[in-house]
């Protein structure tokens, strides 16, 4: 319609010029969308008012709470003093207040727990990836041996990834006792669900020609998957698994909140029972660990994908 109007505008001198036509068209478009936009705005404001009411996010509570936040962050800052910063422990084995050794007096314990956290993440990633690997072939729509097998596997993966790992950890701590085992299994279950879905999607995008070739010479389902699909999808699987490992390091540092091992238990302890520099000491270590693992894993992932692309 506008193209026709533009063409006619250049035809006669009394026709409206292009700018006026454009403005007119724009106004019509705005008017057309006005109703829907007002409706959205009203819905949005209603949702906002409701959520402010439900979460009791009132100005007076905020005015009361916000100064306390800054107060709290003030108390967890370490009282470091420049002249004492690098003083070693004294002869009686006590660290000097104001020195780094005083701030990190429990460093041995923290490092042990961080080591445990990383081990938990690695083990959970391996177990979860193995389970996902086993389930992803029957779960892929193009490979499922029978319709109901595929549906059952997909539902199972949905249940695995639908529940957050910390909830699994809560339940498992009750079942197998406090300790890293509950955390490992909880993270492994969630990992199996999340990775299984990604793996199955990779399988669905793989070329079916090798599979057809293997089927035509009489290969079984297992051989079709082993020689037809697996070589295509393995690099992607590896990359997704490494990505998941990064997420699992974060997860394993918080499952300790419910008693499932790792640095989380210590973090929960220092935040809930102390209000001093120990909180910041543990937090810094956790953030450093997560960042370092992210950087290393990103390097490995890029090297891996890069090498595969060169082939």
């Amino acid at each position: 319609m506008s193209a026709h109007a533009l063409a006619s505008s250049s035809a006669g001198p009394d026709a409206p010029d292009a700018v006026a036509l454009f403005e007119q068209h724009r106004k019509a478009l705005i008017r057309q969308k006005l109703g829907a936009n007002i409706l959205f705005l009203v819905l949005f404001l209603a949702m906002l008012a409701w959520s402010i009411d439900v979460s009791r996010f009132f100005p007076e509570r905020l005015a009361q709470g916000i100064p306390r936040i800054f107060e709290y962050f003030g108390t967890i800052l370490p009282g470091l003093e420049w002249d004492k910063l690098f003083l070693p422990r004294g002869e009686d084995g006590r660290a000097v207040p104001g020195s780094l050794t005083f701030w990190y007096s429990d460093l041995d314990k923290y490092l042990r727990l961080i080591f445990e956290t990383i081990l938990m993440a690695i083990t959970a990633t391996i177990i979860g990836a193995a389970a996902a690997f086993a389930l992803c072939f029957p779960a892929a729509r193009n490979l499922a041996p029978k319709g109901w097998v595929g549906v059952a596997c997909r539902r199972l993966l949905e249940v695995f990834r639908g529940v957050p790992e910390i909830l699994y950890a809560l339940v498992l701590v009750f079942a197998v006792g406090i300790g890293p085992l509950a955390g490992v299994i909880a993270i492994a279950i969630h990992t199996a669900g999340a990775l299984g879905k990604l793996f199955a999607e990779v399988n669905e995008n793989a070329s079916m020609r090798p599979v057809d070739g293997i089927r035509s010479v009489g290969g079984s389902w297992f051989e079709e998957v082993r020689y037809g699909i697996l070589p295509q999808v393995l690099p992607n699987f590896a990359s997704y698994t490494l990505l998941r490992f990064e997420i699992n390091v974060r997860a394993s540092s918080i499952v300790g909140f419910v008693g499932a091992g790792g640095i989380g238990a210590e973090l929960n302890h220092v935040i809930s029972f102390f209000s001093d520099d120990r909180v910041l000491a543990v937090l810094i270590l956790v953030v450093l660990t997560v960042t370092c693992i992210d950087l290393i894993s990103e390097r490995v992932r890029h090297a891996f994908i890069g090498r595969e692309n060169l082939k």
């Binding site: 959520s51 439900v54 009791r56 890293p180 956790v286 953030v287």
Partner: protein
């Protein structure tokens, strides 16, 4: 041209083919490497499972059996205090909505300070990015715990936790979206003599707004998921309902609440997919 039949291929032919194309039948070095790395992985797995005392898994206690049966056998369903459950779920959604909204508003401003094309100065840009890294690096649950300590139990701590960690995530994603805009449109607006504000309004904003809406909706979805967990540390929402009933040993109710949460999350995903489609069309980001 020679034709091979299966019967004609004997050990001698196979041997000849092997020596002619040694690589086609597998490199021994490579094979050792593969087997070696599998052995290392397996060895590590056994070591770590031993370290984590995996035998506890098979010493199944009566507690575990009772818990699992209770989860599937639901009793006395009329005494379950449904009002509290659904109030908890509503609180979770409200927390996620408010936290994401506040984070969106703050991230809008921070993103322009973290993007290379809108903040050419090196130092302020890097400082902003490092602060965002810290906000993202600390997990939402940890923020929840810290805010519970600071402002007390309840949904306010949850809103603040979602607000802080989503600000970190959203501002980073927004700044990437700003860096990816098309310069031509901006130059076109500038060439008409528009000032800085108008350049942002007509040159940059129309390009980034659909991406921003889509990212914020994703963030709302993921916050509803994580807000469930925030309650476990006392930061309000349905997580508090779950942990209270779990501590009281009401496992059937816990299973029911978790099922409800899963359904609600699925509905939210569906609705937000619809809204995203309406605002930005079929094209994904």
């Amino acid at each position: 041209m020679r034709t091979f039949t299966l019967a004609a291929v004997g050990p001698a032919e196979i041997e000849a083919a092997r020596s002619a194309n040694p690589k086609a039948f597998g490199d021994p070095l490579r094979r050792t490497l593969v087997i070696g790395s599998w052995a290392v992985i397996l060895g590590y797995l056994l070591y770590s499972l031993w370290l984590f005392e995996f035998w506890k898994l098979f010493a199944s206690s009566d507690n575990a059996v009772r818990m699992i049966t209770r989860m599937f056998v639901w009793q006395d369903m009329d005494t379950w205090m449904y009002a509290q459950i659904y109030k908890g779920i509503a609180e979770t959604i409200a927390m996620a909505f408010l936290g994401t909204l506040l984070a969106t508003i703050l991230a809008l401003f921070i993103a322009f300070a973290a993007a290379r094309n809108t903040m050419p100065l090196f130092l302020p840009r890097q400082a902003t990015r490092r602060v965002l890294d810290v906000l993202r690096g600390v997990d939402q649950v940890i923020w929840g715990l810290v805010f519970v300590r600071a402002v007390g139990l309840g949904p306010l701590a949850g809103v603040l936790a979602i607000f802080v960690s989503d600000t970190g995530t959203l501002a980073k994603l927004y700044s990437e979206a700003i860096e990816n805009i098309d310069r031509k449109q901006v130059e076109g607006v500038t060439s008409t003599g528009a000032d800085g504000v108008r350049t942002i309004r007509y040159g940059i904003l129309p390009q980034i707004l659909p991406v921003f809406i889509s990212l914020s909706l994703y963030s709302f979805e993921s916050s509803t998921r994580s807000a469930t967990i925030l309650g476990l540390v006392g930061a309000g929402g349905v997580g508090m309902v779950i942990i209270e009933r779990f501590r009281a040993g009401l496992f059937d109710q816990v299973a029911f609440v978790v099922l409800n949460v899963l359904v609600v999350i699925a509905v939210i995903d569906w609705v937000s997919a619809k809204i995203r489609k309406r605002f930005i069309g079929e094209r994904g980001h």
